[in-house]
Symmetry: D2
């Protein structure tokens, strides 16, 4: 075996060409309005800072009220922000008459949630008409380089025609 | 093949005999004190309602401030409560000089977070000196039977000798 | 707080009353025939040993060809058996004209895959018309008590009307 | 809010700078020898096709014996290949006297396992002296562009001094 001698197809294409469809009209407006209706996001001081076709970011400043017993950002707060970022990334690739429900997610906690601010990014890994998969990353930001603190893989369902779940 | 004719070993033993070790001294006091030092638990109105060797429960009343855009309990709040219940279930089976860090968890959201109250239970599935696995269940409680709304499987690490992570 | 003094609703009902619907006609026959059409199950020497409404078990003897570099049962073989057990548990609760696709699963590896035989059980945690969640457990069996070696949580989709996915 | 107007720190740095340490000596030789001692990899016809610091790829041709009842590659085979790719990616970043145990993984199945060949890549997301997190991707390869069929996030433990787990 030669290490890295073969040039198998998908190597160079990683993360390219996933978002080939046209973005839905006014997805950014829809996402921004929906985010504004989330009391839980206000509770944790989260701000929507980036909305693109397939990618959404949320940021929040450190706040002692969001911590667990060791003084780190609580894993539930990290999950809330990553789930929201992944969910709105999914909203950015669906039709205006559809909505999103999270079926499940997995969170890896890689470093303690210490920092001045935190950034959470959700990106679409697999769009779909029924099931959408997104991956998220959480970073702690202080002086110096951002530090990866958590990742999420989220599986979501596209729902239509449910009056209790609109946007 | 006869359906269910065989009596394979582990069938009858399910959920039996896992917590065979002696419980650590005053684990309930340690857990109660640690829970009281979690600002994030106060923020979401969570209460520690059951502490046993291998099992911990947390409850919280519905509060509009904890909801997402559809008015359901936010998945991040569900994760916070389940992670905490699983984490303290792990504290109930480790020595007093050790502590717990969550490495990762998976959450399945099975029904919308609607109800008057919510109960979250964490139970030890696999104790260990290095790695502990716990499973959690979340229920919505109103009139009528409790409804399963979420599950968690959590993988935790037993840490010793870290001054920033005590209890 | 009194430890375990409160008697919150879902405690006593755990694992009770989930499978309240009528089982679909001849689900055991359907599952047995489908299992027999899985070349991968033959490859790993798996046998279907229990089929009930909501619960399916698969067993396989240890075989050196199924091992990884340390001589333990490969995590992929464990995943194959658990995914199959969970999948057929889902088949046992759906209509005869529907079929099942696994969307995702999580596997925890708790002890090395050492033993004379292995038993894998899949059980329905949450039935549904669109999404079904099952939990699996894997056990190593030798002399003495069975040993829990792995767990799975699996999310599956109920599909209808797809000619390439029948049973 | 302006969409994508802010330039938050970690955006440009994604996937850059993770593998900053020196690679361990002869990691490719060690991985190649260990792969050759995995009977389960021979069983599924897997070939080690790329070994780099932090990245490992495995490929296998379609074979009817590896399929489930619909004729697609079995999820267990996908898991076996992804777990192996992620595991050896971890071996590529640890010292020669350490070894790797998989604690848990999550697999998302995104498209049916149909194709002439399959490629599975494991990449280190978070190196560490105790816990390593890797992400994997599986692709089906036929004529035309490779198709993403599955992803994995894997959590692994670095073990030292265990005679039954060497390499």
């Amino acid at each position: 075996m030669q290490t890295s001698a073969r040039s198998s197809g998908p190597r160079a294409r990683k993360n390219v060409g996933i978002m080939t469809g046209f973005p839905p009209p006014d997805f950014a407006g829809r996402i921004t309005r929906s985010f504004g209706r989330q009391p839980a996001m206000a509770l944790i001081g989260a701000e929507l800072t980036r909305v693109e076709h397939g990618t959404v970011e949320i940021e929040l400043p450190f706040d002692e009220k969001l911590t667990q017993q060791h003084g780190f950002l609580h894993a539930g707060v990290i999950s809330a922000a990553l789930d929201t970022a992944c969910g709105y990334a999914a909203y950015s690739v669906i039709d205006a008459d559809a909505s999103i429900l999270t079926i499940e997610f997995k969170v890896n906690l890689m470093s303690p949630g210490r920092g001045e601010r935190f950034l959470f990014r959700g990106e679409i890994t697999k769009p779909g008409s029924n099931i959408i998969v997104a991956d998220g990353r959480g970073y702690a930001i202080s002086d110096g380089p951002a530090k990866l603190i958590a990742s999420m893989t989220s599986t979501m369902m596209v729902v239509r025609g449910r009056e209790d779940i609109t946007e």
